[in-house]
Subunit: 593 residues, 2 copies
Amino acid sequence: MSNDPEILNAEINRLRLQLESHEAKSNSKGISIGDYLLTRLVQLGSMFGVPGDFNLGFLDLVEDHPRIDWVGNCNELNAAYAADGYARIKEGSLGVVTTTFGVGELSAINGIAGAFSEMVPVLHIVGVPSTAQQKKKPVLHHTLGDGRYDAYGKAAAQFSVYNAEILDKVNAAHQIDRAITICITQARPVYLTLPTDMVLQEVSSERLNIPLSNEPQINPPLKEEFVLQTIHERVQEADGDVVVIVDACVIRHGVRDEVQDFLGETGFPVYATPMGKTAINENYKRYGGIYIGSLTSPAIKDKVENAKLIISIGSLATDFNTGNFSYKIPTHRHIELHSTYTQVQYARFDDVGMKQLLPKLTRKLSFFSSTASKIEVPLFVKPVPNEESPTITHSWFWPRVGSFFKPKDIIVTETGTANFGILDVPLPEDTLLVNQILWGSIGWSVGSCLGVALAAQTIGRDRVILFVGDGSLQLTVQEISTMIKKGLKPIIFVLNNKGYSIEKFIHGKHRRYNDISQWNWKSILGTLNDNNQFETASYTTANKSELDALLENPSFASASKIQLVEVLMEALDAPYTLQKQVENASSVYARPV
Amino acid sequence: MSNDPEILNAEINRLRLQLESHEAKSNSKGISIGDYLLTRLVQLGSMFGVPGDFNLGFLDLVEDHPRIDWVGNCNELNAAYAADGYARIKEGSLGVVTTTFGVGELSAINGIAGAFSEMVPVLHIVGVPSTAQQKKKPVLHHTLGDGRYDAYGKAAAQFSVYNAEILDKVNAAHQIDRAITICITQARPVYLTLPTDMVLQEVSSERLNIPLSNEPQINPPLKEEFVLQTIHERVQEADGDVVVIVDACVIRHGVRDEVQDFLGETGFPVYATPMGKTAINENYKRYGGIYIGSLTSPAIKDKVENAKLIISIGSLATDFNTGNFSYKIPTHRHIELHSTYTQVQYARFDDVGMKQLLPKLTRKLSFFSSTASKIEVPLFVKPVPNEESPTITHSWFWPRVGSFFKPKDIIVTETGTANFGILDVPLPEDTLLVNQILWGSIGWSVGSCLGVALAAQTIGRDRVILFVGDGSLQLTVQEISTMIKKGLKPIIFVLNNKGYSIEKFIHGKHRRYNDISQWNWKSILGTLNDNNQFETASYTTANKSELDALLENPSFASASKIQLVEVLMEALDAPYTLQKQVENASSVYARPV
C-alpha cells in the first residue's frame, strides 16, 4: 500500500465523489451549473475561445468571474492551440477552450486532435443548443440542415478521451467533475457540451466541498512490489551500468520532480529525446544531451546504446522523436516506465504507473549510486562555429541564440527547422522547451505561444521566446494581436526562408508550391496593435553581425515589450539534424516508389 | 421518358461507367492515378490547399499540369472556404481543396462541414500515408500516436456524402469517378484519400474516354407524369393565383435557367428568400423582393401569404432564412420542388427532381400566363434615406452601396450585419450574391471571396465586392495575401463596428467578450503585399460624405487594383432585419430561461 498522504487523500476524495453521485442531493445551497463548472476551474486563470450564439450565456458568467480571465482569441483553432500551450506550462492543471456549436468547435478540432496526440490536458467546452432544441432538432443556423445534432460530438469523440454531456440538473455536477478529472489524469482532451438552458439551472453546491483528485489511481501493491523487485534484479545483473532516457511523458504526466530525485539518488547518466528536452535541466552534471537513434552524435550514441540496461521514462516512440525508429536498444536490455504501465524487457505490467513507482524505485536503486556515478557522461556543449560568410546559417544561428538564453526562459519552437535547430543547443537551468514534434501542425506555435506566455506570468517566468518560420506564421498570424491585447511581451523570431523549408527538404526543393507570399514582417506588429496603445518593436536582421548586435543589446534582451525579429535566411538551408532526418523522407512520406 | 438528349446521354455515360467497372481493363494506354484524377478535374481551373508531407508527390503533378492552377492558401480552413466560394460561382463544376493527413484535413473540416450544410460541391483530396504504412500503422508524425489511422476519415464522414478511398490500382479510377460524380450531382462534399504510393501507379486511361455524367438521374416517368398532373390540378383549383418563392437550391442545384423559363412562360409573380437572393434577376419585372416570414415588409408578406397556391423552388427552411420559422403558408396551399423530390401539399414524391420536372411544368402551366400576369407585384426598391447625421448608419449604408453596384457584380456578404443589410437592397441584373446564411461561420466570406474572385475571372465577371465585419475578418485575414499574390482585385468593405455586432444584438450588448482588438486596417494590404509588388489602395471612411465621395470616384469603381475600405460604424447599429430577427434571440440561443 502507498503511504504517501497526498496519494491516499486523492483516492479518498475520488471515492467520496463517486459515492456522492449515487446519493440524493440536499439542494440546500444552490449554484448554477455554469458557476459550478467555473468553481471547479478556478485555479485555472485563463480561458481561451471565441464567443458564439450558443455560448454567450455562459460567457456572462466567465466575464463576471473574479478569478477567471477570458482571453478572447481571433479564431478557434488559435484558441485551441493557446489552451494547449497554456496546459503545457501549468502543470497539474489544464487548458480550457470554449467555442460554439458546429462552426466554432469544428474550427478548433485540429488543435484538440494535436492535444490528444501530444497528451496535453485540454478541456473543450462547447456551448450547444438548449436541451429542448436538441430533442426537436430544428434547422437552426450552425446545423448541417439535416437534423444530425450529434454529428459534431461524433467527430469530437475521435479526438477526446471522454465526451461529457450535460443533459439535466441530476447529471451535471458529476459530468463536470468527471470531465475535469479525466482530462487532467489522462492528460488528454475532454469534450464537454453545455446546452444554453443548462447554464443557469441550479444544482447543489455541497459536492464542491470535496476537492477533485487529480492524482492517478493507486498502483496495485503486490504487482508494484513485484515490478520493483524485477527492475532491481535487472539493474543488479547489469552491474549498475544503466542509462536513463527521459521523454515527453515525463513532462506531460508531471513526474519531473520524481525523475530528478531518481537521477540524483542513483547517479545514473541521463539523456533526453527531442520531445523530452528540458524534462530535466540541461546543465545537470549527469546529463549528456539528446538521443535520437541513428541521428545521434556518435559520442552520445555509443554511450546510450552500449549501456547494459536502458531505462526509458515516459517515452513516446514517434518517427521524428526517434530518428525514424532507428533506436538500437534491444528489448532484453530495455525497461520502460509509462504513466499507466511498466514494461520490463518483454513483460508488460499494466496499471503500474510511474508517478508512484518512481519514488519507490529511487529508494530501491540508490544503492547503485557509487558504481553508477563512475559512468562517464559526455559534456553537452555546442560552441558557436566560426563561419566566414555573413549569411545567417542554421549551423551558426542556433548556437548563437543558445548563448542568448537565460535561466527560466520558456522557448517555443515551431514544427520545421526550429524544432530541429534547437535540439543541439544546451539550454540553461530551469528553461522550458515547448514543441509539438508528434502532431506537427504548422502554425501551432503561434497560438501556443500566447497560451504559454499567459501561463508563464503565473509561474514567475519573464521571457517567452518563439521561433517560427514565415510559412508557419502565416497560418495563425492573427493571434499575435491577442498577445498584444493582453500586454504580453514575447520575443518572436521569424525565420524568413521564403517558404515551407521543411517540406522542401522532404520533397520538392524547387517546387513553387513550397513557396509563399512575401509579407512585410516589420509592419505586422503595427498593423495588429490594438489602437496603437502598446509599445512594440520590430527588427530585420540580414546578416550575422546585425543579429549579433541585437542579441547583445540589453534593452532587447530585457523583453520589456513585444518584439519581432525577422531573421533572413537562405531558402535551402536547414539544421543538420533535419537534413539527416529527412534524407530518405521523400520516399517515406511524399512519393514512395 | 425524357426526350432531352443531354439527359439521355448523361444516363448512357453513367451506365457505361458502371459497366466498365465490372470489366477487365486492357491497360494498353497507361496513366498515373494522380493524373487520372487531374484529367477528370481538368475543367476545374483552380485547386486550393496547403502542401504537407503526404500530398507533395501529388502536388508535383498538379504543378506540372498545364490547365490546373495551384492556388496555395495560407491555411487549410481558408482553403476550404475558398473551394466553397469557387464552387458556388462555377456552376456545374466543383471546388477542390487538397490537404495533408491529420493536421491539414482537420483544419479544413469546418469549411467542409459548411459546404455540406449549405450544399456546395467541394471535393476534399487528402494526401495520406502509403498503403503499406496504413497497414502497419507506425507512430508517424501527424498521427494520434495510437495507431488509429482511420480516425480522421471517421470524423470526415460526418460531413461528406461519400468517403472515397484509393486502395489499389483496381479500384482507383472507379473511386475517383464516383467521388466527382457524387460531389457534383448531390452538391455536397466528398472526401477522397490518396495514399502517397498510389499517386504514380499506372492505370488504364481508356475509361477517360467516357465523360462523367453530372446530370441527376432520370425521374421515374409515370410518377413524374402523375406529379405534373397533380400540380396542374392544384393550379387550376387556385385559378392561376400562384406565387413562386425561389430559394437556395435553385442556385445550388443549377436550375436558374429552368426557373427563369418557368417564370417567363407562366408569368407567376416571384419572390426570393435570403438564401435565394439573386437566384433570379432582381430587376425582373415580375419579381417582388425578399420573403422572410414575419420579418417581411407588409406589402410583400400579404402578396405571398394570401396567394391561393405557393410554389417553393429549392427551399431550405432554416431559422435565419425564414424569419425564425415564421412562414404563414399552410401545407394545403403549398407545393415544393426540390432536387430529389417533390412535395404537393401533404404528399411527398421521392425521386421526382426539379431539374427535369421544371421544363415539363413550364409547358404544362404556360396556359395560365394570361391570368397569372394580372397578379400585381410590388416594386422592389430601396431609396437612400435622408439622414441628417453624418454617421454612417446601416439604414443609409446599404441602399447607398446599392446604387454603387453594377450589372454582373459578384457580392459576397459575411455572416453578421452584412448578410442582413444586403437583403433589402435590389441588386442589378446578373448580379450574384454569395452568402452562408445556414452555416454562418464567421470568417468564411474572406476565404470564400478568394475562390469567388478566381472563379469570376473564368466567367467574365470584373468586380467582386466583399462586405465583412472587423471581427469576422480577424479570423481569416491572412487569405487577403493570397488574393494579392494571385493578382485579384476585389473591393473589400470592412465594416468596423469594434466587435462582434451580431452577437451583441443576440446577447451581451455591453459585454467585453464581444469586443475585439482594434487593428490598423489601412495598413493591412501593405503588410500582406507580396514583396510590395502589387498595386493596392486602402481607405477609411468616417462619415457619409467621405463614403459618398469614394463611391463616386470612377477610379475606385473601376476596381483596377485590390482595394480595402474601412467603414467606421457605431458598435450598436445594425440593419433593421437583423434587429427584428434577433429580437428574441437571447432566449432562443444564448440564455433560455
